[in-house]
């Protein structure tokens, strides 16, 4: 294994991890995709997860959210085991999720997409800053979400995850299918939100610029395992982890 296990906690040695994944396995049906994943994310930390397609990044996020059945391994969030918890319980514990492809409700208005995250919960109001972070969504509140552009839909998907006030959001390829200028704008917005709220992010991303803009640490995944973790600064090295794991 390249990199070192000590790197995993090196970024925030003073803190207990907010999310801790140990020896996690998982997959679809009989196909096993995750082969013992170990990863931590500290409170307020942004960790990027990189790797080639099909290495298990999305599967790992889906497994963390309870969208795939538990096999072996443990997931703890803020000290509590969530390995076998139902998805809605995991969300209510403070974990948010922005899925790959955004998966907004096309036929619902922007406002209803956001409102869904509050229904059936004790919290009944949106975070006051939400529409400051995403002013565009204020203008489009009544618009059918399916008519928004890809970048606007991504903003909606992120805003939707922010509504219940999570402590950590799992973001799956937020730059996918979005024009570069909007990717940069989304990155800046996310950086501002992390700065303002202390939110943690576990970011699956192929866009190196976005990773560099947001992350403090990068974990590389190959064949269902974390094979290296490093500070984001190491990505700049010509023969560094990007060359080793992504041939970039």
């Amino acid at each position: 294994m390249l990199g070192c296990a000590s790197c995993i906690l090196a970024a925030r040695p003073e803190m207990a991890p907010l999310l801790a994944i140990e020896g996690l396995t998982g997959g679809y049906g009989r196909s096993q995709v995750l082969h013992g994943v170990d990863l931590t994310v500290a409170a307020g930390e942004v960790v990027a997860l990189m790797g080639r397609n099909g290495m298990g990044k999305t599967t790992l996020l889906r497994r963390c959210m309870g969208l795939l059945p538990a096999r072996a391994g443990n997931i703890t969030f803020d000290g509590a085991a969530i390995t076998d918890a139902a998805t809605h319980q995991i969300v209510r514990a403070g974990l948010g999720y922005v899925p790959q492809g955004r998966e907004i409700f096309d036929d619902f208005s922007v406002a209803d997409n956001l409102r869904l995250s509050l229904l059936g919960r004790a919290k009944t109001t949106m975070p006051a800053a939400l529409f400051t972070w995403f002013p565009l969504l204020t203008e489009r509140r009544g618009q059918r979400a399916g008519t928004l552009s890809g970048g606007e839909q991504q903003m909606l998907a992120i805003a939707r995850a922010l509504v219940p006030g999570p402590r950590l959001i799992l973001l799956d390829e937020p730059s996918e299918g979005i024009q570069p200028s909007l990717v940069h704008a989304i990155g800046e917005q996310l950086a501002a939100i992390v700065q303002a709220t202390g939110l943690s992010l576990l970011l699956v991303e192929q866009n190196v610029d976005l990773v560099t803009m947001l992350a403090e640490r990068v974990a590389f995944m190959e064949r269902g395992r974390i094979v290296e973790t490093c500070p984001v600064a190491d990505l700049a090295a010509a023969d560094g982890p990007l060359a080793r794991h992504l041939s970039l």
């Binding site: 139902a86 998805t87 809605h88 409700f105 036929d107 869904l116 229904l119």
Partner: protein, 286 residues
């Protein structure tokens, strides 16, 4: 003129009765995607609630209140034991609910016998229109059907529960990732759909012959109404029910019930050939 008024009233009652029967199926099949072959038997159970109430000397309107509750309770048990294991597995759902429909029919035949029952209409009065006597209960049923259809649309399109239910039905995983307990919502929606079938059964019972085999006769036109109107769009049942009920009542009067049934099937084939997702399929709310 009076004859035309009677034809229009009869046609309206037929259409609204069909929509009422199909309404529960719209929720369970059209929106949730559960091909419930036992929907006709749940409708039949609702009618038997009215039969039992009459045999016990209880008021008909008590049966109308009890039927959705009792059949909804049966729906709760069916969802818990059977349906929740086969969500999004179409073939398994068909087989499981087909078996269930046979079991319900046989259980009712064993309990009440294979013969038919009739239920006395709760309102005996008739309205005289140009020399023709028209049963007031049919008019009341028309009004109640409109109110129930309106209430169901309001529930699914205008309330928080409806928003959550439509979200869970459209994208269950995304809804769960927004903190929604999808199991609870699916179960509630299924119970609502079965309760509506029971309510329709009790309300329609005074107009029909109640027997263990009656379900199939209502299941087929209900499915056709949803397929023609567009599964997935709640409003599709209005279009589909209107077309199926309208063609059926007009051609039954003009030609024969057999010709009417053939015409309905031809209509279904043509619509599905031209618009595979139904007339309103692919747009509108879901």
């Amino acid at each position: 003129m009076a004859e035309l008024a009677i034809i229009v009233l009869n046609g309206t009652t037929t259409i609204l009765t069909l929509i009422l029967v199909a309404l529960g199926l719209v929720v369970v099949f059209g929106m949730m995607g559960v091909i419930n072959m036992a929907h006709g038997e749940l409708f039949m159970l609702g009618a038997y609630v009215a039969v039992v109430a009459e045999a016990l000397g209880l008021p008909f309107w008590l049966a109308v209140l009890a039927a959705p509750l009792l059949v909804g309770l049966a729906g709760f048990a069916i969802e818990l034991v059977l349906i929740r294991h086969v969500y999004r597995r179409a073939l398994d759902t068909i087989l499981a609910t087909w078996g269930l429909s046979i079991a319900i029919k046989q259980a009712v035949a064993l309990s009440f016998g294979p013969g038919a029952f009739s239920v006395t209409p709760p309102i005996d009065a008739t309205l005289v229109i140009g020399g023709f006597a028209y049963p007031v209960y049919r008019l009341v049923l028309t009004g109640l059907a409109l109110a129930i259809i309106g209430a169901t649309f309001w529930l699914f399109l205008r309330t928080d529960f409806g928003l959550v239910a439509r979200a869970v039905i459209a994208r269950p995983e995304t809804a769960a990732a927004q903190g929604i307990d999808t199991r609870k919502v699916m179960r509630t929606s299924f119970v609502l759909g079965t309760g509506l079938a029971g309510l329709a059964g009790a309300l329609v019972a005074p107009l029909i012959s109640v027997d263990p085999q009656m379900g199939l006769g209502y299941l087929v036109p209900a499915f056709l109404s949803i397929l023609i109107g567009g599964a997935g769009a709640l409003a599709g049942v209005l279009v589909g029910g209107g077309l199926v009920g309208g063609v059926d009542s007009l051609l039954t009067l003009a030609l024969s019930p057999v010709a009417a049934q053939i015409a309905v099937f031809v209509l279904a084939v043509v619509v599905i050939r031209l618009r595979p997702r139904g007339i309103l399929g692919g747009r509108g709310e879901r």
